[in-house]
Amino acid sequence: MSEDTAKRRFREIVLPHLDDAWRLARWLVGPEDAEDVVQDAAIRALGALAGAAPVKPRAWWLAVVRNTALTHARKRRGQNWNHANEEEAADAADPSPDAETALIAQGEGARVREALGRLPPLLREALMLREIEEMNYREIAAVTAAPIGTVMSRLARARAALARLLKVDHDG
């Protein structure tokens, strides 16, 4: 009985937001691993849905995907992956002249994607949830289990780093 309930909830909550989950996983762990991550997350979600129904289904499911992705990435990258790197490498990420030259040489689309790839994961995550998934601060806070103030500061730092990488601050 509860398995049926879990599957019904799974169909109502997980499947309709599968594309969102895929994009989030992709930005967190890269396209090669995203499929495994979403599938693991779905199995976890199905297990959890036998219990209580989540109050905010989409945010809940994306939070499951995110936690699965972070666990996966930490395992994979070992000691290089820690919270400091996830957030604080923002300033290390950009202003080397080599990085700038490499970026300027490419077309705009490739430049944007490469610049995003250089952001520390937690900053990139906040930015993608805001700009691509069009979540508000409260929703981003729910998915990332961070206070709203932290969400704001991550967004600000992500945008500052990205603007520097892309030289958006120069007119034109």
């Binding site: 109502e12 895929w22 994009r23 499929e35 930015l127």
Partner: protein, 248 residues
């Protein structure tokens, strides 16, 4: 050079997170202070570049298929429709009534389709393609929705085909066929199997009938009474079944 506070407020404004009063104040200031306007414009350009170059990619089909299987119920599909047809129309209505108590009120897909129906009825323009000819409606929908649509002729049963339209659910087109019985409109949305539960429900005052077959889930929405809508659902399902067994 630029004040931290300007940067933060420009972002809050851009993200729609200022309250109304703060937003108005910000806009006044924007007009008066070019340096603030420059900060704001820079963030807007960044947003535009991001949205332009990071497409909203869909999950791989393979992954979706695997997860749909994971969420599929163990017994074969259409258990209640089969049972209801076997038990006759009385059974159908009784079972539909039983299911109504369990229909989820917070099903967002269902709520969206009901609003679509309501908007269509109120606007007096319930279809994107108006035609009583299924050979017009079907290809119109097929050209716009990957699944295509099943468009049975139910004229003999007292349900006249009057057209079709597209609803959008989660960014995907949902083919919707529109019928009329007397002055009542019926919208039938055809969805992938994963999309919906089964059973009758009442949502925002509209009667809803939901059923499925091997390929799709169907949601019919109307201001017809529940009994007549159940008859419609039964005839539609039967026509769909016949069409499939006689199709080459």
């Amino acid at each position: 050079m630029t004040d931290e506070d300007d940067i933060l407020r420009a972002q809050l404004a851009l993200d729609g997170e200022l309250d109304a009063q703060a937003q108005l104040a910000f806009e006044r200031e924007l007009a008066e202070r070019p340096e603030l306007a420059a900060v704001y414009a820079r963030h807007a350009r960044l947003r535009q570049a991001l949205r332009e170059h990071t497409p909203r990619e869909a999950a791989p089909v393979r992954l979706r298929a695997r997860l749909e299987k994971l969420g599929a119920s163990a017994p074969p599909r259409r258990p209640w429709l089969g049972a209801a047809l076997a038990a006759g129309l009385a059974g159908f209505a009784a079972l539909a009534g039983f299911e109504a108590g369990r229909a989820r009120r917070d099903d967002p897909a269902l709520a969206a389709l009901v609003s679509g129906h309501e908007r269509a009825v109120l606007s007096g323009q319930p279809f994107d393609v108006a035609s009583s000819d299924r050979h017009t409606v079907k290809p119109w929908l097929a050209a716009r929705a990957p699944l295509g649509a099943f468009v049975p002729d139910l004229g003999a049963d007292g349900f006249a085909l009057i057209g079709g339209r597209l609803e959008i659910l989660d960014g995907r087109p949902v083919p919707t066929v529109v019928y009329r019985r007397r002055e009542h409109l019926i919208s039938v949305a055809e969805l992938p199997l994963s999309q919906t539960g089964a059973g009758a429900a009442v949502v925002e005052g509209y009667h809803v009938a939901r059923w499925r077959d091997e390929e799709r889930a169907y949601i019919a929405i109307s201001d017809l009474d529940a009994g007549e809508l159940a008859i419609f659902a039964e005839r539609f399902a039967k026509a769909a079944g016949n069409a499939k067994t006689t199709a080459p």
